[in-house]
C-alpha cells in the first residue's frame, strides 16, 4: 500500500464496545452471540458462507443456540449464522435487516458501531430471556485467520 498508513485493526476502545454488546446480549436477552472481526483466509468468496458455517460449528455444543456474526472488513462481507434453536428467536428476516444496517455503517467506516447496532437489533428480536453465563472465552481472543 503506497499510503503506508493502513488500518491496523480494532482499537482497544472498539473491542471493549463489542465485548460489552456481546455481554449485554447474554445478560439481558439470554442470547448466545459470538462475533468474529477479520478476513477469512479464502480466495473464493463464493465459499464465504461455507466458511462462516464452519466457524459457527466450531462453537461446539453452543452452536445449536448460538448466533455467529462474521465481519470481514477487507473482504467487505458480513455473515450472520444462526443455529437451529437460535433461528427460532432470530428469524432470517431479522438477520437480513440487521445486516442491512451493519453494511451501511461499515461502508461509512464505522466497524464497531455497526457491530454494536447489529447485535442490538438481533437481541431486540430475540426478546428477553434469563441470562446465560459468560462463555469460557469471554474476552476478545486473537485467532489466526479462520478456516
Amino acid at each position: 500500500m503506497a499510503a503506508g498508513r493502513r488500518a491496523t485493526g480494532l482499537s482497544v476502545a472498539q473491542q471493549e464496545r463489542i465485548d460489552h454488546a456481546v455481554a449485554q446480549c447474554r445478560e439481558q436477552n439470554g442470547l448466545d452471540v459470538s462475533v468474529v472481526v477479520g478476513d477469512l483466509r479464502i480466495t473464493d468468496l463464493s465459499r464465504f458462507r461455507d466458511a462462516a458455517e464452519t466457524l459457527h460449528a466450531a462453537l461446539g455444543e453452543r452452536a445449536h443456540g448460538a448466533v455467529l456474526l462474521l465481519v470481514a472488513p477487507g473482504q467487505r462481507r458480513v455473515e450472520v449464522v444462526t443455529g437451529p434453536a437460535a433461528r427460532r428467536r432470530v428469524p432470517d428476516r431479522v438477520a437480513a435487516l440487521a445486516v442491512l444496517s451493519m453494511t451501511s455503517a461499515f461502508a461509512g467506516g464505522d466497524l464497531a458501531g455497526g457491530v454494536v447496532d447489529g447485535l442490538r437489533q438481533l437481541a431486540e428480536a430475540a426478546g428477553k430471556r434469563a441470562a446465560i453465563p459468560a462463555p469460557p472465552s469471554a474476552h476478545a481472543a486473537l485467532v489466526p485467520a479462520g478456516h
Partner: protein, 143 residues
C-alpha cells in the same frame, strides 16, 4: 355624568382654541434652551481636558515608564504567538490524527481476526468443527 363630561369638555375646547400662539411660543423657547444647553455643555466637556492639565498632571505618554527587557520582548512577541499558533494547530489536527486509525473500506484490512465470545482454543475448534446435519439460518451482505 354626562353633565360632568360637558363641564370638562368646555374648558378644554376653549384652551384648544386659545392654544396655538402660546404653545408655539413654548415650543420655540424649549428648543432654544435645549440647543443652548447642549452647545455649552459639549464645548465645556470637550475643552475640559485641555484646561485641566494642571489639575490631573501630565498627559498620557508624557511618562512612558521603563521599556520592555529582551526577555519580556521575546516572551510577548515570539513565545506567545508561537504558543497560540501551536495550540490552534493542535486543536485543528488532533481529532484527525486520533481518527487516522479508523477503518477505510478501500484500504483493506491487515489485522488478525478477533473472535469475541468464541471458543477457548479457536484453532483446535475450527479443526474439529463438526457441521453435522443441521440447517443453519442467517443472512449475509456486502458493502
Amino acid at each position: 355624568m354626562s353633565r360632568d363630561r360637558t363641564a370638562r369638555d368646555g374648558p378644554t375646547a376653549r384652551d384648544l382654541s386659545e392654544e396655538p400662539v402660546s404653545r408655539a411660543v413654548t415650543r420655540v423657547a424649549t428648543a432654544a434652551v435645549t440647543v443652548t444647553v447642549t452647545v455649552l455643555v459639549t464645548t465645556l466637556l470637550t475643552a475640559a481636558p485641555a484646561l485641566a492639565e494642571d489639575i490631573v498632571g501630565p498627559l498620557e505618554g508624557a511618562d512612558p515608564g521603563e521599556g520592555l527587557g529582551p526577555a519580556a520582548t521575546l516572551l510577548l512577541f515570539v513565545v506567545a504567538p508561537a504558543a497560540a499558533y501551536l495550540l490552534i494547530a493542535a486543536v485543528v489536527l488532533l481529532p484527525g490524527a486520533v481518527r487516522a486509525n479508523r477503518y477505510r473500506p478501500a484500504e483493506g484490512w491487515s489485522a488478525d481476526p478477533v473472535w469475541f465470545a468464541g471458543p477457548v482454543d479457536a484453532d483446535a475448534a475450527i479443526a474439529h468443527a463438526d457441521r453435522g446435519d443441521v440447517t443453519r439460518g442467517g443472512a449475509h451482505g456486502s458493502w
